[in-house]
Each structure stands twice: as C-alpha cells, then as structure tokens.
Symmetry: C2
Subunit: 288 residues, 2 copies
C-alpha cells in the first residue's frame, strides 16, 4: 500500500507503523492526533513519515485509515473523516468493542459505511504510548475483523493483508459474536478483578489484608490495575453482552457457594478439576 493514515500513534498505532515498515508493506505513513508533542515524538522516533493536523491533507490519496485512538474518540474521528473520505480509501480501527463502533460508522459515514472494516487486535503491553511501540507486538497474535454482511471481499482482504504483514492471525466474525466472546474472556475477568480489589480496599483492615496478599493475588488482580476510564468505556460499550456474562457467572458462583455450604467435597473437587484441566490445557496450547 502507498499511504496509511494512523489516528492516534500510541502503543497500538505505533506498533502497526513499525511492523509495516519492517515488512515494507507501506510506502508512506501519516500520523494524526490531538497531541502535537506525541506526534512529534513519533516523527522523531521514525515511527511515522509525516505528522499532520489537517484531516483533509492526511486523507488525500490515502489507501487506508487506521483509528487507534482511545475508543471514546472514535465517533468524532469518523465524523471528521467523513467529508474527506474518497471511495477508494478503507477505514479500520483497533477498538476492544465492535457493535458500538459499527453503529458509529453507520451514523458518521452514512452510505459509505461499507468502507469501514472494524478490527480488534488482541495484543497489548504493560506500557502505553509510542515509546512502548514494537514491530513484533502483533507477531502470532489474533486480530478479529467484523465486517458487515455486505462488505466487499476485496475490502476485507486489504485490512487482512495489512494485519498479516504485522505477523498477526486474522479471523472474521460478526460484531455481535466478537462482543460476546470478549465479554466472556476479557471484559468479565476485568470486572471480577476490579470488584475483588474494590471490596478488599473498602475494608477497615485493608492494609492488613494487602500485607498478606501474595503471588496468587498478584496475578489474579493484575488486570484490576487497568485504566479506569478505558474500562468504563468498554463496559458501557459492551453492556448487553457483559450483563449476560455477569448473570452466568453469578449463577456459577451460587453453585460453588452451594457446594461449599453443603461441604460437598466431591462436587468441589470435580469442579476444580474441570477448571484446572481446562486452564492447564489452555496454557500448554497458547503462546500467551
């Protein structure tokens, strides 16, 4: 591809830029963002070739636009793009929820919404910002695309090719499917970890409790240290699927409580065995 425009050159946007440069999959990368200092840093680091503040200039002759800014900005960015979007330009994003983004695209892009191919790279790191960007961030990671039923196959293929050039495995599903899966394996665990730490932190003896917390607590609660605004946005954006997962979990937890209440050792052991077996099989199989 000739020209890629990245809105939000942070960890994700910056890593895409570095990966595509490394695989020589793009000639010219334009960064655009609200923070001039961050953009200048991306330019200085050689992550982007051009820093732009004008959406019109940035989008001129662009093959692809990647929105990698915080999801709360997505609607405004799509609205800013709309007047300048040529019919040959594909827009994609990197947000953690997809049904909401699909709605924004239809709203903001009108009859050109099929030019938007929503995406979600399943990758991240402890650190954020362009200085944390790495060319190998997406190597062997999953990327989910959630195109519309009517999206043209070649348009999906262009986004898929971009992510494959970053070393990722690309899967396609509906936005609703995506949001249900990630409610279960990502959003719910975050909520559960936030809830536990909040519960303990609100106790009169919180200091004593935290003093005796060890490595099990450390790992379980790591995601409770995540960005509060980002997780507020994700929770609200995926409210319906997340509520369903929360319901299912509450039923499961009541079942565990019942086994414990009844001192049902065999029942507890069976449940722990199924979980332990599944968790260890997953760990052997996955690269995470």
């Amino acid at each position: 591809m000739n020209k890629l425009v990245i809105f939000g050159v942070g960890l994700i946007g910056g890593s895409v830029a570095l990966a595509l440069k490394q695989s020589q999959a793009v000639r010219h990368i334009v960064g655009i963002g609200r923070d001039g200092d961050h953009l200048q840093a991306a330019l200085d680091l050689g992550v982007i070739d051009e820093a732009q503040t004008s959406v019109a200039s940035a989008l001129d002759q662009a093959d692809m636009v990647l929105i990698a800014a915080p999801v709360a900005q997505t609607l405004a960015i799509l609205q800013g793009i709309a007047p300048h979007l040529a019919s040959s330009t594909i827009v994609t994003d990197a947000g953690s929820t997809k049904s909401d983004i699909v709605g924004y695209a239809q709203h903001a892009l009108g009859d050109r919404y099929l030019q938007f191919v929503p995406g979600h790279p399943i990758a991240g790191a402890e650190k954020s910002g362009v200085t944390a960007a790495r060319a190998d961030l997406f190597q062997n990671r999953n990327v989910v695309l959630t195109p519309f039923e009517q999206t043209a196959a070649p348009d999906i293929a262009r986004v898929q090719t971009m992510w494959e050039a970053c070393g990722a495995h690309v899967t396609t599903m509906t936005a609703a499917q995506h949001d249900r899966i990630f409610a279960a394996v990502s959003h719910l665990p975050h909520l559960l970890a936030f809830a536990l730490v909040n519960e303990l932190a609100s106790r009169p003896n919180a200091d004593q409790l935290f003093d005796f917390a060890a490595s099990g607590f450390r790992d379980f609660s790591r995601i409770a240290g995540s960005h509060p605004e980002m997780w507020r946005d994700i929770s609200l954006a995926n409210q319906a699927a997340l509520l369903e997962e929360l319901n299912a979990y509450q039923v499961q937890l009541s079942h565990v409580r019942e086994l414990l209440q009844q001192q049902d050792g065999a029942g507890l052991q069976q449940l722990f065995e199924r979980a332990s077996h599944a968790r260890n099989a997953w760990a052997r199989h996955k690269k995470y």
Copy 2:
C-alpha cells in the same frame, strides 16, 4: 537447634531444610515420609541428613518437628507423633489453614497440645517436590504463627527463630484471624478463578472462547490451574470464613451489576479507580 524432624520433604519442607543448613541453624535434619523414593531423593540431594521410617527413632531427642506434608495427612501425623512426643520437643506445621489444624492438635495431642505452634509460610512456586526446593524460598516472605493464648512465649520464639533463620518475616495472630485474612486474599480468589474457567469450559463454544483468551485471562486464571484436591481441602477446612467472603463478594458483584445495568459511567469509573489505585499501590509496595 540440634535436631529437626521434617514430615514431608517436598518443596516447603525441603526449602526449610536447605535454608537452615545454609544459615547453620540446625545440626541434624531427619526426613520422614510415606514415599521412600522421595525421601531417598532428598537424602541424595543433601537436603536431609537422615531418612527415617520410624516415628519413634525420628522423634528421639528432636528439638522441633515440622509437618510439611499435604494438610489432609496432618491429623494422622499428629496421632502418630503423640506417643513419642517428649515434653521438650516443639511441633509446628506449614498448612494453609489454621483453625482446623488447631482442632486436630487438641484432639491428637491431648494435654500436650500447647507444644504445637501452628504456622503458615506464605510462599510457593510453580513446581512442587524436593527437586524444586530452594534455600531462598522464604527470603523476605511472610510466615504467620497462630499459637494458643496459653502457649509459652519461649516456645513461640523457637519456631519464630527457625523461620527467621530461613529469611522470613514472622507475624503472630489467632488462627481465626489468619483464616479470615487468607479467605479474603487467597482462598476466595482461587474459588473465583476456578468458577470462571469452569463456566467457560462448560460452554458449547469453549474452544472458540479459549482461542481468543489473551494475557489478561492468562494472569487472572493462573490460580485456576492449582491442585484440585489441595483446594478442595483448603475450601472445606476454611468453610466458614470462605462463605463469609463469598457472601461479601456476591454483594459487591451485584453492586457492579447494578452500576452497569443503570449505565452509571461515573459510578463504574469511581469503583474502577479505587480498585486500580489500590492494586497499583500494592504492586509498588510489594515484592511479589
């Protein structure tokens, strides 16, 4: 100390032996256990000085007995010790729950139960068995002792000195206090992680879900890979405190659910912020 007897020379018992040898805090270490091969391995590795099958011979002239076998064996071990226990010998243990062990000691040792000083080293590792034992396993780790109200101070001090020679920080509290604290920071998180993985593993699309699980799930669910029988025993042993924690957590989770249902973004953010702040403060402060 002259002679230490260790029941169960695995990760914990073996690491105590190595640490005490390194700090020259004991002259002679006797290992005793049900599995002759494991005991021979401990002897071959130089972790213990003597492998015994006779409790009478092992306890002769012993200053201290450390029970580091699986907790399910504790009562039987205490009953085996009772007929051979000299009044100058102190018995301690390394179990994860304390109220149950206190009851076993009173039952098995009769009027000599004050010679038992219950203990819980807060340390562990991914691997188990004597080959995983390390002299530095308890370095800067917490050890909780839960003596009886009438236990003689010098007897507590002997156990404290042993753990301090292993590099540990020793805290004393009641068995009930101990069990409430660890229900909150260890046993409950294990139940929550087992419950999540069990819930997901029981779905028709479990394979698909696990396929998209990433690093957040990996850390949250690590303790769901723990030993099922061990956690069945811990759950049952600490049933009362664990049920209280489960109740409190279910209330907390219903609150989170309510915020989400109401689309209360400010409420969610506040809760996530408190959790995130507490988790990150803990991580900065702790060495785990």
